[in-house]
């Protein structure tokens, strides 16, 4: 008898002929997650198992952050002997009270009892040994799973995991990461679909400080825990902002800035093999996120722009940020100080002709090129933040 982690996967089940490809990625990602903790990982009978790790709790916490994993259960693995299974079941349910149900599942058809009989037999034994428990087959408080496969597996606890698709099965995309609450959540949502996400951050020293940059890197590191770390491309953006401020109409300032951010992000994305951009925009949240403004931002690039938060309310976004662990970092101060560049009356219905006219007033191509050339790339997994 030994302890193992039973790892269930969700959506990958829906795949048809290319399912082995997705599974292979998933197993590799689970392996990478637990390797530093000494866990051994294998796939058997549409389950992933983790064994031989000294710290099972830490392992479970890591595995539940692997995209594609639906849930994780600490389980015991033992010989397929009914008497020892019953004893182990009694042991697992000792000290519990309330209602319970045994879920039997016999994959190995040579085992003498079928799924129903197995559940009934074990349920009876548990009831005899623990009078504080009652059976409730509809809404049990405790679910005891017993599976008969190459071995017998028993588990009670089921830790929900992040779900989604295995990282690396969905291509690569570039996230515009600001340091606020929304953009990390947007990145998370797309990572959840199996996409490898890199980040681009626009740095306006001296209008934003070294501490603000540290904060963004910290956010990226927190997001990177759901993958294998994150690349962050920091773009020097001050010169462009100053030029826009000096030469272009004030009320278009924010949308013009967004358009240049998108252009720069697109170039950085292409240079890094990314096929799409990700932003944390939510329809109508601020002046630059009206439908008219978004149409104008989109028009600046020839690349799909994913906006997973488009229909979410700020409070819903905050809930996700809290759940994924980026909220506390997002609300640190040191946010940008550049209200200097914020128009007092930003245009909420910009027209593309006006924007193009304004952009002709600056040497946009040169400034874009310079910004791209000035990119500094950080690897969050190499940083202590």
């Amino acid at each position: 008898m030994r302890k193992v982690l039973l790892v269930r996967f969700g959506e990958v089940h829906l795949k048809g002929l290319n399912r082995p490809y997705f599974l292979k990625k998933l197993v590799a990602n689970v392996r990478r997650a637990v390797e530093p903790l000494g866990g051994r990982v294998w796939l058997s009978d549409s389950r992933i198992y983790v064994a031989d790790a000294p710290d099972f709790d830490a392992c479970a916490q890591r595995v539940r952050k692997v995209f594609g994993v639906h849930s994780v259960s600490p389980a015991v693995e033992m010989e397929k002997d009914l008497e020892s299974i019953c004893l182990a079941a009694e042991d697992m349910m000792r000290g519990k009270q309330g209602t319970f149900k045994v879920f039997g599942r016999r994959s190995d058809k040579t085992f003498p009892l079928d799924s129903m009989q197995l559940a009934a037999e074990i349920g009876g034994r548990v009831l005899e040994s623990n009078p504080a428990l009652k059976v409730d087959v509809h809404h049990p408080q405790h679910k005891l799973n017993v599976e008969i496969r190459d071995h017998a597996y028993l588990c009670v606890e089921e830790i929900p995991a992040v779900g989604g698709m295995p990282m690396g099965t969905g291509g690569k995309a570039m996230l515009l990461l600001s340091g606020g609450i929304d953009s990390p959540v947007a990145g998370y949502q797309i990572m959840n679909r199996g996409v490898m996400v890199q980040a681009v951050h626009f740095y306006s020293f001296p209008y934003t400080s070294e501490r603000a940059k540290e904060k963004v890197l910290k956010l990226a590191k927190e997001l990177g825990e759901y993958g294998n770390g994150m690349l962050v491309h920091v773009v020097p953006f001050t010169e462009l902002q100053m030029q826009l401020h000096e030469k272009c109409p004030d009320e278009l300032g924010t949308v013009l800035m967004r358009r240049y951010m998108m252009r720069i992000a697109e170039r950085v994305a292409r240079a890094n093999g990314c096929q799409a951009l990700i932003t944390g925009e939510s329809l109508g949240q601020v002046a630059s996120q009206t439908m008219e403004a978004l149409v104008c931002t989109d028009a600046a690039v020839n690349m799909p722009v994913f906006r997973p938060l488009i229909g979410l309310d700020k409070l819903e976004i905050i809930d996700i940020a809290t759940a994924i662990g980026t909220y506390d970092t997002s609300i640190l101060p040191y946010e940008d100080c550049c209200t200097v560049f914020t128009p007092r009356h930003p245009s909420t219905r910009p027209r593309i002709e006006d924007l193009e006219k304004a952009e002709a007033l600056i040497d946009g191509e040169r400034l874009t090129e310079e910004a791209v050339n000035g990119v500094e790339t950080f690897r969050t997994w190499e940083m202590d933040l």
Binding site: F205, P206, T208, E210, D336, C337
Partner: protein, 379 residues
């Protein structure tokens, strides 16, 4: 080139201090409470430092208790003295005190005492009617800083002391001297409790002291082995205390004059480049000689700070700035500085070791950065 003009935040340890501490760490590592001879050497070194402090305060008497720094000494002075009194007390402090004083006062308020916070005028001087009014109703502790950390304002301690002695005989007067010690002369005769810190005078961080007039009763905050006359238990930080002693000895006797000359140079150089710069707080000649708080109209203090940082000039701002929430300096606001000026405020703070080159360089860079940044105002 680096110009470090943030000496009120902290200072670089001087060579004398580093050497004295290195020797203390290597050789004088004994616990002063131990019974053998080398341990007594450590105790003697600590006592020598206590004497240095008394000398600097022009007094032969009083107890010197070493602490972890200014905050702990302020906490001990305020909470320790009031806790040793019987029943609810009235405490008088200025609105512009350091957070370690205001925080201690809040704790006392929560414990049922009354705290009266008197305002100051634009020069940083107490509003005397309020002070007198409060004293006439009786107070048992007055706490006031020797030098304001943001503006360099120096409240008239002699007048405060005289007023307290005549209106509230028996009341205690605590002076927070963290920003003033050895840069502005201090007479212990004015006060009953005096706080100082090591790292503002080129000593190490993590060490400070509280001077206590003989006969003043305090209730200790750190309990245990009874070190420091029972007022501050815990094995003494001998290397830090030896470092503090070295820092005091290394401070030039004419520090105030040197500082005043450097500050005048800095202000003159900045003014010649930026004529519309404004001084926050008292006139430079009425303020402490090492602190200069300036507003650069039309430019956010924090933005200018980072632009200077890029050029290797380090200063500080009184007000943290963020696009979401603007936090203006309560000290500047209390001194009647308009909100707009608070946003553009930068504090330059000097040390006797600040060189003329540093000052000239800083002024030149401030001029350049201001010239560039003032073009970008919110439209």
């Amino acid at each position: 080139m680096i110009a470090y003009l943030d000496n009120s935040a902290t200072t670089q340890s001087s060579i004398e201090v580093v050497e004295a501490m290195e020797q203390a760490l290597r050789e004088e590592y004994f616990n002063p409470s131990s019974l053998y001879a080398p341990a007594m050497r450590a105790e003697k070194a600590m006592n020598a430092c206590r004497n240095e402090i008394r000398q600097a305060l022009h007094t032969p008497s009083g107890q010197v208790v070493f602490t972890s720094g200014g905050t702990e000494a302020n906490n001990l002075a305020i909470i320790g003295s009031v806790s040793a009194m019987h029943g609810p007390q009235r405490i008088l402090v200025s609105q512009t005190e350091h957070p370690s004083v205001l925080g201690a006062c809040e704790a006392l308020e929560a414990a049922g005492h009354t705290v009266i916070r008197f305002p100051v005028d634009r020069q940083g001087q107490p509003v005397w009617e309020t002070v007198e009014g409060a004293m006439r109703e009786g107070v048992s502790l007055l706490s006031c800083m020797q030098v304001n950390n943001e503006t360099g304002a120096m409240p008239d301690l002699a007048r405060l002391s005289a007023m307290l002695r005549s209106l509230c005989p028996g009341a205690l007067f605590h002076v927070d001297g963290v920003q003033g010690f050895l840069r502005v002369p201090m007479q212990a005769s004015l006060a009953d409790l005096y706080t100082l810190s090591g790292h503002k005078i080129h000593g190490p961080k993590g060490v400070g002291a509280l001077w206590i007039r003989s006969g003043v009763r305090l209730k200790p905050r750190a309990l245990g082995g009874g070190q420091e006359g029972g007022l501050r238990s815990g094995t003494e930080n001998t290397p830090g205390i030896i470092g503090l002693g070295a820092a005091i000895r290394a401070m030039p006797g004419n520090a105030a004059d040197v500082l005043a000359a450097r500050k005048a140079l800095l202000l003159g150089e900045i003014r010649s480049r930026i004529p519309d710069v404004r001084i926050n707080g008292p006139l430079p000649e009425d303020a402490a000689p090492h602190i200069l708080n300036l507003t650069f109209p039309g430019v956010r203090g924090e933005v200018l700070l980072h632009a200077l940082e890029e050029a290797g000039v380090y200063v500080s701002t009184g007000s943290a700035c963020s696009s979401k929430k603007r936090k203006l300096s309560p000290v500047l606001l209390a001194m009647g500085v308009p909100a707009n000026d608070c946003e553009g405020a930068l504090r330059f703070s000097l040390s006797p070791h600040t060189s003329e080159e540093e000052i000239l360089y800083a002024a030149e860079q401030a001029g350049k950065a201001y010239e560039l940044l003032k073009r970008f105002r919110r439209k």
